[in-house]
């Protein structure tokens, strides 16, 4: 039997991981199906909804538009990598406090995308936050409480950094 799978070595949420995948498989599929990281969701598979937002070497990408082999030698951050030990990331905590989720299926993507925003710009305006998160669809909340949660997290993270 000929070998058809590719062997990929990568770093996921700070830990070295390896997996086998088909050459045409998306990173989203590899994360969800091969690696059991189902926090990253599939909403469209065309890069339009943001439910599969991850960080690839710190850059925000939709995992559905990345081929799994592209993860070779790179660092992947998913929603499962945001909380540390027993503490939630401030964004996660603020989403809870602001009731910024209803069904919750878009929430991991929003939190990862918002983390990328705050990494790049710790003190974003409301407008900047709305445009940064325009690649993430939420059908439940009307975005109001999501934007408030992100802005609140930003101001809290800024305070704790001082």
């Amino acid at each position: 039997m000929t070998v058809t799978k590719l062997h990929i070595e990568t770093t996921i949420n700070g830990e070295p991981r390896e997996f086998l995948c088909d050459s045409h498989e998306t990173l989203l599929s590899a994360l969800r199906n091969g690696l059991g990281l189902t926090g990253t969701k599939e909403g469209c598979a065309t890069g339009d909804c943001g439910a599969c937002s991850i960080l690839l070497d710190g850059r925000l990408v939709p995992a559905c538009l990345v081929l799994a082999p592209e993860a070779q030698g790179r660092a992947v951050t998913t929603i499962e990598g945001l909380s540390s030990g027993d503490a939630l990331h401030p964004l996660q905590q603020k989403f809870l406090e602001h009731a910024a989720l209803q069904c919750g299926v878009c929430t991991p993507g929003f939190i990862v995308a918002a983390k990328a925003l705050l990494d790049a710009k710790p003190n974003p305006s409301e407008d900047e936050t709305r445009y940064w998160l325009a690649g993430n669809l939420c059908r439940c909340t009307g975005y109001d409480k999501i934007i408030r949660a992100v802005l609140d997290a930003a101001s809290e993270m800024k305070e704790s950094a001082i």
Partner: protein
Amino acid sequence: MTTPREFKYVGTRPIRHDGVDKVTGRASYGADVVWPGMLHGFVLRSPHAHARIVSIDTRAAEATPGVKAVLTGKDLPETTATIALGEAAIDLRDVGDNMLARTKVLYHGHAVAAVAATTIDIAREAAEKIQVVYEVLEPVTGIDRAIAADAPILHPALRTKGAASPGAAGPTNIASRLEFKRGDVDAAFAEADVVVEREFRTPMVHQGYIEPHACIARCGEDGRAVVWCTTQGPFVVRDACAAIAGLDPAHVKVIPSEIGGGFGGKIVVYLEPMAIALSRKAQRPVKMVMGRDEVFRATGPTSGSRVRVKLGAKRDGTLVAATASLWYEAGAYRGSPVGAGAMCALAAYKIPSFFIEAHDVVVNKPKVAAYRAPGSPIAAFAVESVVDEIARELKMDPIELRLKNANAEGDKAPYGPKYGPIGLKQILEAARNHPHWTSPLAANQGRGIAVGFWFNAGMNSSATVILDTDGSAAVVTGNPDIGGTRAAQAIMVAEELGIPVERVRPGVGDTDGSGYTDLTGGSRVCYATGMAVIRAAEDVRDQLKARAAQIWNVAVDAVGWENGRAIPPAGTEKAEAMTVAGLAAKMAHTGGPIVGRASLYAPMAGPAFGAHICDLEVDSETGQSKVVRYTVFQDVGRAVHPGYVEGQMQGGAAQGIGWALNEEYIYDADGVMENAGFLDYRMPVASDLPMIDTVIIEVPNPLHPYGVRGVGEVPIVPPLAAVANAMRDATGIRFTELPLSPPRVLEAIEAASAVSVGA
């Protein structure tokens, strides 16, 4: 009249119990599980909008290595069963035929076969080898074509139900026609000083939940099936699966996953009976997950429509007469929400004489599904636009005009019953007194207001409250939690037992683990299931009082209850008040575990109104418009968790704004949807919207112990007209067709300026 109850937990904003799982990615949705040995299912769909199936040859697919089962419509029994759903009923013959076509395909994307294989790639490739021979028929792509004399007929056996038009007989695409009337309409219009008549059109729009349909099912040699799926109604899925797959309902168990949005679109089944039937053939679990294009082409949407409304008013603003003619697309099978639309159309107003007719029309598009206040937004778009025109004709403030005609307690609703306490006047007064209404507008901006109505639903609910020895409690119902209902149920148990809300564990049971409960929909969960939760908690409290009576050796009736403690009758020796925890610790010695339960049928609900104010800014060079300020006023009866009540109001408004401004199913002449993806089906994103302000008004519903009405559906009703009325204010143009997308707006602005230049 009792004095209003003081609440300790109701009205607070605790963190939802399922929240940490959802912000960390641990919560399991429909597509998130893996079962050992599982296969992957793929659906082959029709490339034609209307065609007869001549033959299906599955041999090449079946011979493909890795393929374990192939299914076509012939493999499933034809059922005549129905599922009761409030006033309506789900016809499972149609649901089954919609899930997997038998003799005809009725829309582009209609399923014709399914394959289960060891990988999704093998299943997809094998499905492409299935040879389907079609006899292609002319597609019926809209209402005008459907009702033309020479229209192709979708269902040869279909006859118009209800009050048929004179002369109508024989095969038709009009599935039903109904009428509501009051008074002498012609005489009433003759009395009117001002009459406005307009015709409105709206396209099909989708619920747009972010999580596609997904399920996994296994069916064993004994004919017993277990289904895990994303659904609003596990009991609906159970009964539908049994009938469509040909199983005994006693042998089907449905486990609801976390649900990634539904809005009415996750009530009927599209995949689950297929997964069961494939699993029965393959004797392995089968997982099926839809792609987004399948969700658009073959699930949802709600109706496209044509609605004609005529209103007559006296010079002082009194509405005296109305007619409305509603035509809603049902999609491929009968059952549009036109009846509800007709009942909601004039619900806000005291109009002595009216005539409403409503038509349900089948067309070669996906079979419509419920969508948040089904039918009401379309009707409100038409009526509230005409009310706005009446206000303009009379030079009257549109809120004053609505207040003058607003229904109140004791008035007879256009759809029959007398209203109990309703908050329509209160929301209108709140809107009039809100700073938004009188704030100045900038250049190129306009302001619109509209109201909306929904009945809200009651129906069957069950709840179980389980007390633990440490005095904490679990509460289980059969309602999947879409928008925070578990948090509300935990608050209710905390309120009744006087234990901290964090010590209540709310959960969603499967169909074997909870009493029968109708679906999560109709804004009924906090109302009807909430009532069951409160009664189940009261049952626990009554049992605790009995245990205290036993400990104190006094009569049960003599035991009091205050602040979560049983109080001994005055003068009882050696007796001190006992907490829930204290009594729970003694359960084993006072009669054993305590479980409270309640099951009920709530025959009625709390009808509710909302009013929305929209400020729109329009770029006259591009036709692009943007909502710059938006305020939602709604009578919710009682807000149990105000954070999630506001969330419903904001989310419903955003969906309605999308419907008004951008969303539409676009079809080509062959009946193929051209925009079956989120790039081209343009739902609102964060940068499209401002903060959405909310004003919660609480006119308690006397049917509920706390006054809850239900909140989820009303907020999608007003936005269509609120936005269109703001567009009228900004541009001077009355748009009667949605969406108000840039090309349509620009064309109208250019046409209007050409006219004024020419004049």
